[in-house]
Symmetry: C2
Subunit: 182 residues, 2 copies
């Protein structure tokens, strides 16, 4: 049995389906945990899972990294979303032609507690920042993110998001690792 | 003897002068410490000083809070400075007439280790966000911050900054507290 510590039911549901596909059982720990301030998602996740300190538990964290903004909002994506939001990002991108961006998801899994052994898995979707807010599905920065090879934002076509999801990729990597480990 | 844990020599020098004025001795601990992600400077500072866990030590953290941007960049001011910078803030403020902002400094002092007793002091300077980058003195957001009652930015007149400094206020409060405690 494995455990996904998250307050987000939707994330859990998505992960559970992936685990089941691989013949693995997953339960949710619906508790918050402390995150540190650091310059990478990896560092934040590794420190957090060590602090949680329970075997076979994983956490997931994600962010939007915009090249022309030196990776902003990055690690602090959820804070930026709550303050300046999509409108703020578009304003920052006014007059900037280089629209490259990526969604990154990091999964940190605690394989051994003492000494701590953490496995980290990364999922990435590359794309571009749109010129206006488009679509109503998804959440967060979905309405301004157009994945590479498409011309709709994640919020305009939730099926594309579901198929390409950075989170799906990182959790899929974890599930594959766990299945082959046994 | 008291201790200021900071990697910043300038902050330490400023604090040492204030302490000496109050007949108090201050030494520097030039080590980094871990900061958590939280929605207020107070929370970050309290958790950090508890983790440091040494008696008579204090830390200081500061941020710029812009009203029209729901407090952004706030707790994550230094990250925002390193990524989108002053140019980014001005872009976000384009077309916004409400320019109210404040610099806030929080000092957290560990009075007792176990159980931890933390004293928190706050210093605030109110002002406005300028319409362009002005001046070369100071650092960070100084070139876009005009204190209330003035028409120059902190970076145009460093003496005004020195006199009004949010950091000076919070550290002054701590020094006064320590002097009267004895």
């Amino acid at each position: 049995m494995f455990y996904f510590q998250t307050t987000n039911k939707h994330k859990f549901k998505e992960a559970k389906e992936i685990f089941e596909k691989h013949g693995l059982e997953l339960e949710r720990i619906p508790e918050k945990y402390r995150e540190i301030q650091a310059s990478s998602l990896e560092e934040v996740a590794i420190e957090s899972i060590k602090e949680i300190g329970k075997k076979n538990v994983f956490i997931e964290d994600a962010g939007l990294f915009i090249k022309a903004l030196k990776g902003f909002p990055g690690v602090y994506s959820s804070y930026v979303e709550k303050t300046i939001g999509n409108g703020g990002i578009l304003k920052l991108m006014q007059g900037i032609e280089e629209r490259d961006a990526k969604f990154v998801s990091i999964v940190a899994f605690l394989e051994e507690v003492s000494p701590p052994k953490v496995k980290v898995f990364k999922g990435v979707v590359k794309g571009n920042i749109s010129y206006e807010v488009r679509g109503k599905e998804g959440f967060g920065f979905d309405p301004i993110f157009i994945p590479q090879g498409y011309n709709k934002t994640f919020a305009e076509d939730i099926n594309i998001k579901m198929r390409l999801s950075h989170r799906k990729k990182s959790i899929e990597k974890l599930a594959r690792y766990l299945r082959h480990r046994r």
